[in-house]
């Protein structure tokens, strides 16, 4: 049976859903096709042990734009936070944890100088992040400059940077290509503080804090926080499925349709433009445009097929760097974990194990040689503190993003996984000495597992590493940076498109915007 719609969105990840919602709101007939039985992609909730459910990839919302929540009416559609404006703790094995909250730092052995510097530093960085956010919200201009609108877009970036004022503009241009190590050692003395801020630049990156360009990653994250505004770092009630559900309701509320268990086998082409999709079931659906939430390599090289593309473009897509280095760990606990030195123990927080930048850099090094970190760096959430319903009564869950776990685990992946598991638990033990005895279930998802689970090439949550060469008008590759691929009617709307990943939905929103402003 053949049906006709204006737009097909491949993949019901948060970007796909956001994109579909904007298109549906604008009056397009929209059909979202999800291969899995559950929507949400990497923004989902999943039972990892009987009775224990957890956000299966990202576990905090730190960059969901207020604008998106308002424009799509997500609260009405069911978005609910179990906690928001969460503080961050940089954990200390000696019990001197540093607390970061509302633009101020406290606790631990912080000097007055560091405390004062931190406030000034964040004020400055947030100004820069606002410039970055302007860029993230844009459809990247084409470099040809043949059209005046493109020139105006280019000028608006320059203007935005210039309005920082002379001193801050110079500072922005000085640091934007720098590494976090140099930036942080310039500003701070406290190791725990440096380690925790550096972790913000490390999360999801494929580089250690001493690698050039890590400040970009930091500002990207901070821009998300600027967009998230008053919500700060938040935890959706019931896990990420809550957000996906709200987005899905926004789609269906605007007249769109979502189908699960509908895997797209092929993007169909007629007369050198998209004509629809073929499902693995054999069903054909016609559409004027197809927007893919899948990563660029999967979309272009696998689902579309290279025969519709030129070799030079295929070569660029083939070379997209997407080696994921972040693993996800889910631990079921028989009781509330006790971390050393938390002033308000038991209230929800974001916990960081990155007690110094050197620690973080050292945890990165082994990944270069396909080895797992001896002392891993982690971002930890205990979601059950704010949302007890995720686990059986009185039980808890520890969810951690473990940085610098290579995609390729070398000759003996099984042994490497066992080693990593032990390293994670013994690392946690240094900060929560009784935790080992509380563990009742343990799940480890390496980048390779994340690739298999969520279908993202390389297991990278940004779909394409967020580095200068794959950013803005070269994201994911030149020739597809305006969300439109060389094949008329085919768009990219996932994390591989500008601006990138993280549970923000901006890529999906931008792609919809580009289609609506009259793309091919």
């Amino acid at each position: 049976m053949t049906k006709n719609v204006d737009c097909i969105v491949i993949g019901a990840g948060h970007n796909g859903l956001a994109c579909a919602a904007y298109l549906a709101k604008a009056g397009k007939s929209v059909l979202v096709l999800e291969a899995h039985s559950q929507i949400g992609g990497a923004a989902a909730t999943r039972e990892f042990a009987p009775g224990y459910s957890v956000s299966s990839c990202a576990h905090f919302l730190h960059g969901l734009p207020l604008k998106l929540i308002t424009e799509l009416d997500l609260v009405k559609h069911g978005l609910q936070f179990a906690a928001d404006s969460l503080p961050t703790y940089s954990l200390s094995a000696e019990g001197n944890a540093v607390k970061i909250s509302n633009g101020a730092v406290s606790g631990g052995l912080l000097s007055e100088k560091d405390q004062a510097t931190y406030t000034a530093f964040m004020k400055k960085m947030n100004k820069f992040a606002a410039v970055m956010l302007h860029i993230l919200n844009m459809v990247p201009p084409r470099l040809s400059l043949e059209e005046w609108s493109e020139r105006i877009n280019m000028l608006s970036i320059g203007w935005k940077v210039r309005t920082l004022g002379k001193r801050d503009m110079r500072e922005f241009l000085r640091i934007i290509g720098m590494n976090m190590y140099d930036l942080l050692t310039e500003h701070f003395d406290n190791e725990l503080l440096r380690g925790a801020i550096a972790m913000d630049a490390a999360l999801g990156a494929e580089h250690g804090p001493r690698s050039p360009g890590t400040v970009l990653n930091y500002l990207y994250r901070l821009a998300g926080q600027v967009a998230a505004g008053k919500n700060g770092i938040a935890q959706p009630k019931g896990g990420m499925a809550n957000l996906s559900g709200a987005l899905a309701n926004a789609v269906t509320g605007a007249g769109g349709t979502i189908r699960t268990n509908a895997k797209v086998e092929r993007i169909l082409v007629a007369n050198d433009r998209v004509s629809g999709v073929l499902l693995t079931s054999g069903e054909t659906i016609n559409a004027t445009s197809v927007l893919s939430n899948a990563d660029p390599q999967t979309t272009l090289l696998k689902i579309l097929g290279t025969e519709h593309l030129d070799t030079g473009f295929v070569r660029s897509v083939h070379h997209i760097r997407n080696r994921g280095l972040a693993a996800k760990v889910h631990i079921a606990l028989s009781g509330k974990p006790k971390f050393k030195g938390l002033s308000d123990e038991g209230t929800p927080a974001r916990l960081i194990i990155s007690p110094s930048i050197d620690y973080l850099e050292l945890s990165f090094n082994p990944s270069k040689y396909r080895e797992v970190p001896r002392n891993p760096s982690m971002e930890i959430s205990i979601p059950t503190l704010a949302d007890p319903a995720l686990a059986p009564n009185g039980k808890h869950i520890l969810s951690a993003i473990v940085q610098y776990v290579p995609y390729d685990l070398g000759a003996d992946p099984k042994a490497a996984r066992e080693t990593l598991k032990e390293n994670i638990i013994s690392t946690l033990e240094r900060y929560a000495p009784t935790i080992r005895s509380q563990i009742t279930a343990f799940e480890l998802l390496t980048p390779k597992d994340l690739e298999a689970e969520f279908g993202m090439s390389g297991g990278h949550w940004h779909h394409a590493a967020l580095t200068f060469d794959q950013f803005f008008f070269t994201r994911p590759v030149p020739g597809a940076a305006q969300f439109e691929t060389p094949l008329p009617g085919l768009y990219l709307c996932g994390a591989g498109a500008h601006p990138g990943g993280g549970v923000m939905g901006i890529a999906g929103r931008n792609a919809a915007k580009q289609l609506l402003r009259g793309g091919k």
């Binding site: 090289l301 025969e307 030079g312």
Partner: protein, 402 residues
């Protein structure tokens, strides 16, 4: 995507010799060689003029071995080549050859060459420049194997009016029935010989493909068959003269590969090279198609044309103007020759838009170096048909004996 094995000994000798060289050496008088695709290739055996007239009057033997060759095979071979080149590969039947170009994404020519369809799933692609990198990247997503086979195949171009007769004497039964761009398979002295009615001279002629181990035996047999029929080895320079008369283009002479150009607007589309007939915009997607469609709509920046120039002084590298007093430069000559056979002063020239309309007055600025003194001439020229020299025999089937 698989890559062929490479031969690891090339660094010991920067240039290697063709398997025919032990026999060619006996004919070499001037000891002039040029490097060609990693081979030392004979530039002139004894006299360019004599070698040139062998092409046009009897049977010339040119060693084609250094020509870069790729084997393209596998279930997707046809689909792969159809996406790679500008012509419709589906229309090339087994045992047929097609001349073609291939473009980059911008629709600019990377190289030209010939595609030999050996079977439903196997092709040989002969190219001017090395293409392995581009061919392998083009193979992403196709079930196809690309192998560089240049050194695995020895080849001779036998060109000229008596070439068919010589092959008959060699014992190739029915060779005269081979049509232009046909491939035939023969056995001589127990070894296989592939023959294609192709060449770079615009004349009656054949290209003969074999295992390098049979090269010497074949050379000897060919020379015996050609006795009394004016057979003679020729070098690169003589071929170059015939090439211009035939109106064929050469990379790095008429165009620079689009993958090699550095400066803006130095790359050329097939339309700009006058190769519209090679571009099949209706066959489905191929590399550069979208850009070529846009160019067709917008118009080309330049165009390669054949021109004829007053007088008999070859217009090597001449700039072309719109008036005798050199008011505005409208193009430049890429290849020039006083054609001994046509008795015309001919050239290939790249003209800027819109001056290739045939209505613009054209003057070539020719510099002559005469006993250390430079003289400048402004010679009137006009656009003429290509090829400049096109004898009937090049197309006749059955092929004539002379």
């Amino acid at each position: 995507m698989q890559q062929a094995e490479t031969t690891p000994s090339h660094y010991r000798r920067p240039l290697i010799s063709s398997p025919f060289f032990p026999r060619q050496r006996e004919f070499v008088e001037t000891d002039t060689y040029i490097p060609w695709s990693g081979y030392s290739s004979v530039d002139v055996f004894s006299s360019v003029e004599q070698e040139y007239f062998t092409i046009r009057n009897s049977a010339s033997v040119f060693d084609l071995t250094p020509m870069v060759k790729y084997k393209v095979s596998g279930p997707d071979a046809e689909k792969y080549l159809d996406r790679l080149i500008t012509r419709d590969v589906k229309k090339i039947k087994p045992n047929r050859v097609a001349y073609t170009v291939w473009c980059n994404d911008a629709g600019h020519v990377i190289d030209d060459g010939t595609v030999f369809r050996l079977s439903q799933t196997e092709f040989r692609v002969c190219t001017a420049e090395r293409q392995l990198d581009w061919f392998l990247y083009s193979a992403i997503g196709f079930d196809v194997e690309i192998a560089e086979v240049t050194q695995d195949i020895a080849a001779i171009a036998l060109q000229g009016p008596t070439s068919c007769l010589v092959l008959k004497m060699l014992g190739l039964q029915g060779i005269e029935l081979l049509k232009p761009f046909d491939i035939g398979h023969f056995t001589i002295d127990g070894y296989p010989l592939m023959v294609s009615r192709t060449g770079f001279t615009g004349d009656l002629g054949y290209e003969l493909w074999m295992d390098p181990r049979n090269a010497i035996a074949f050379w000897d047999a060919l020379m015996i068959a050609g006795q009394g029929r004016g057979i003679r080895p020729i070098g690169y320079q003589a071929l170059e003269m015939a090439r211009i008369e035939a109106g064929f283009i050469l990379p790095n002479v008429e165009f620079v590969s689009a993958e090699h150009t550095i400066r803006l607007n130095r790359d050329r589309s097939p339309f700009e090279l006058g190769l519209d007939w090679l571009v099949d915009l209706k066959k489905g997607h191929f590399n550069g198609r979208r850009a070529l469609l846009a160019e067709k709509e917008k118009g080309s920046r330049q165009r390669l044309v054949g021109i004829e120039i007053e007088g008999n002084k070859p217009a090597h590298g001449a700039l072309i103007y719109n008036s005798a007093d050199a008011e505005k430069q409208i193009g430049a000559v890429t290849s020039a020759l006083w054609s001994p056979t046509c008795k015309r002063n001919i050239a290939l020239a790249m003209l800027d838009a819109p001056f290739f309309d045939g209505k613009t007055e054209m003057w070539a600025e020719i510099y002559l170096h005469r006993e250390l003194v430079w003289e400048r001439r402004m010679c009137k020229c006009k656009i003429v048909e290509r090829p400049f020299f096109a004898p009937e025999r090049r197309r006749q089937t059955p092929a004539p004996d002379r």
